[in-house]
């Protein structure tokens, strides 16, 4: 509960900045980070969907191995992968216990493991595809596949405004603390203190709603003067923006390897009973 007490201290402006920069400049030197977003979308479209419809344990296992490999290639911390799979197993564990309670038997373990495998493939595929893609590239990619321009604008705008908004939120939160009164007693399990902080966290949005409304107005005025509103619908702008998106040799190579691997496990699955 001490964590809740230092709620405000942890949410510092500098901390947020660091988080954001880590994502923005993250690990973009890996092979996968160099791929065109479209390649990764296509790749993910298969690995993110197909597992739902595949029931062969052999193929699923093969796919899982493959995505574990690609995930390692992205140099995402191994801890993340470990925690993720642990979490998925835990969920299946819950289901197992509940099923036993409802009169099932241990025969349920196998289908649950298959389910866990499917979910793992999907999650790792998304980590591979998106964790090494910087938000800016993701925005470009989305724009390329036909998502409206407002979305990639919003990603950029988010980067622009979030630290400012966060700082303002912090200031308002502190305003409440600098004039308010915290509970005299912490209560059972710090209950009162926690409620006090939650109340402040919620109430702080009232002033923020109003000041953000003012900001939104100037922003849209500025968008108007910068021709933003028309640009969302102008194909020429889209072309200019995406001029440096190119599918190159690496992309074809990556897709080719993936396809070959998949074909080989699909074929071998006919000969292996597992």
């Amino acid at each position: 509960m001490a964590a809740a007490k230092s709620f405000a201290d942890k949410l510092s402006f500098e901390q947020i900045k660091i988080e954001l920069l880590n994502t923005a400049y993250g690990n973009d030197r890996t092979l996968i980070a160099k791929l065109d977003p479209r390649t990764l979308f296509l790749w993910y479209a298969f690995f993110g969907i197909a597992p739902w419809f595949i029931h062969s344990r052999f193929i699923l296992a093969g796919m899982l191995l493959f995505v574990i490999g690609t995930t390692i290639m992205t140099k995402v911390s191994r801890l993340i992968i470990f925690i993720l799979i642990l979490g998925l197993l835990g969920e299946s564990g819950y289901l197992l216990i509940a099923s036993l309670f409802f009169g099932g038997n241990l025969g349920i373990i196998i289908p649950l493991l298959v389910l866990t495998m499917k979910l793992s493939v999907i999650s790792l595929a998304s980590i591979t595809a998106f964790c090494s893609m910087s938000p800016e590239r993701l925005g470009e990619g989305l724009l390329r596949i036909g998502v409206p321009g407002q979305v990639s604008f919003s990603i950029s705008y988010g980067y622009r405004m979030l630290p400012t908004l966060f700082e303002e939120y912090n200031h308002i939160f502190m305003s409440y603390r600098l004039r308010g009164k915290s509970p005299e007693k912490h209560g059972l399990f710090y209950f009162r203190t926690v409620i006090y902080f939650i109340k402040l966290a919620v109430k702080s949005f009232y002033p923020l709603l109003l000041s953000m409304a003012k900001r939104a107005r100037t922003t849209v005025e500025a968008l108007e003067t910068k021709g933003g509103q028309y640009a969302f619908r102008n194909p020429a702008v889209k072309k200019l923006k995406l001029a440096n998106l190119r599918i190159g040799k690496t992309d074809y190579f990556f897709l080719l390897i993936s396809v070959l691997y998949l074909i080989s496990i699909f074929i071998s699955s006919h000969y292996v009973s597992f």
Binding site: A3, L11, E19, N22, T23, G26, A45, I49, W52, F53, Y94, L95, A98, S99, F102, G103, G104, I108, P111, L112, L115, K118, L119, A125, S126, I127, A129, F130, P135, L138, L142, I145, G146, V147, P148, Q150, V151, S154, I155, Y157, G158, Y159, L162, L165, F166, Y169, V202, K203, F205, L208, L209, L210, M212, A213, A216, R217, T219, V220, L223, Q229
Partner: protein
């Protein structure tokens, strides 16, 4: 959709303002809730899952569609993409479900000064959202496990676990982070925040009496149609291109089942709520 268009028309810039407002604030709140630790007491989870009151308030005060879609994008952009946690199709699912839920909450209210309406809307929004989440989670196990029904004990346990977390979230998040804050914020902001965006406060007293004159069957058909239209609208707003693109892989099955579930849930709720409102209005007229 026709109902909404009549409500009040917005210029392109005003739509953008509502979108930006909703996106930034809900996005910010998402980042905050992501960073706050959660507490588990056994299977009961006390976490600040989301500050649903922000999109609820904005959907009630402004055009619900732009506020709702803005909030959904806010969550994805600030809460996921910017923290490096974007997860592809999972986000699409969130987008559709959350927008739908907030949107419905927004159209329920035709008088932001009416606390009962606002309260009902806030709770309904959370219930729809959590209900659809539950349906989608159950559907995932159902699709993911071969011969789902044949595995003894599994269907019951899935329903039990998901149902429990549904109740947990509705009771905890629904009251603390939707109902109470929305009741606090809406009356304070009504009439104050709209002029800052250069808009008139939505005053539906003048525009809604049509529904009082219409016969019940008329309303039902209208509701059915608008619900269907909304379902399609979401499909298109969520990026129709992606759907075409992935259609080859047969993913449409999930989306269709989701959409059907959504529409069914929506109709049930709208019928219930309009029924209530109508009864009230009827009493007032007499």
């Amino acid at each position: 959709m026709t109902q909404i268009k009549e409500r009040y028309t917005l210029t392109q810039s005003q739509k953008m303002m509502v979108f930006i407002l909703s996106m930034s604030l809900y996005g910010l709140s998402n980042m905050i809730t992501e960073l706050v630790p959660e507490v588990n007491v056994g299977p009961v989870n006390f976490s600040i899952e989301y500050f649903a009151f922000i999109p609820l308030t904005l959907c009630i005060l402004f055009h619900p569609f732009y506020a709702a879609i803005g909030a959904s994008f806010g969550e994805i952009i600030f809460g996921e993409i910017m923290l490096g946690q974007f997860s592809g199709f999972g986000e699409m699912e969130k987008l559709v479900i959350f927008t739908l839920a907030m949107y419905v909450a927004g159209i329920i209210v035709n008088n932001p000064k009416n606390r009962v309406q606002v309260g009902i809307a806030a709770v309904t929004g959370v219930v729809i959202h959590q209900f659809l989440n539950m349906v989608s989670d159950i559907a995932k196990v159902w699709i993911g496990v071969e011969d789902f029904e044949a595995v003894s004990g599994l269907p019951q346990s899935v329903v039990a676990i998901e149902g429990f977390s549904f109740l947990n979230d509705v009771l905890f998040s629904g009251i603390l982070f939707a109902l109470l804050p929305t009741l606090y914020l809406v009356p304070r902001l009504y009439g104050k925040i709209e002029p800052l965006l250069g808009m008139k406060p939505c005053d539906n007293k003048t525009k809604y009496p049509i529904s009082g004159i219409l016969k019940p069957r008329f309303i039902l058909v209208g509701v059915l149609l608008s619900a269907a239209a909304m379902g399609f609208e979401f499909l298109s707003e969520a990026g129709i291109d992606i759907f075409e693109w992935e259609a080859d892989f047969g993913s449409t099955a999930i989306w269709i089942s989701l959409a059907v579930a959504a529409v069914v849930a929506l109709i049930t709720i709208i019928v219930l709520v309009t029924g209530k409102n109508k009864a009230k209005r009827g009493m007032a007229n007499e």
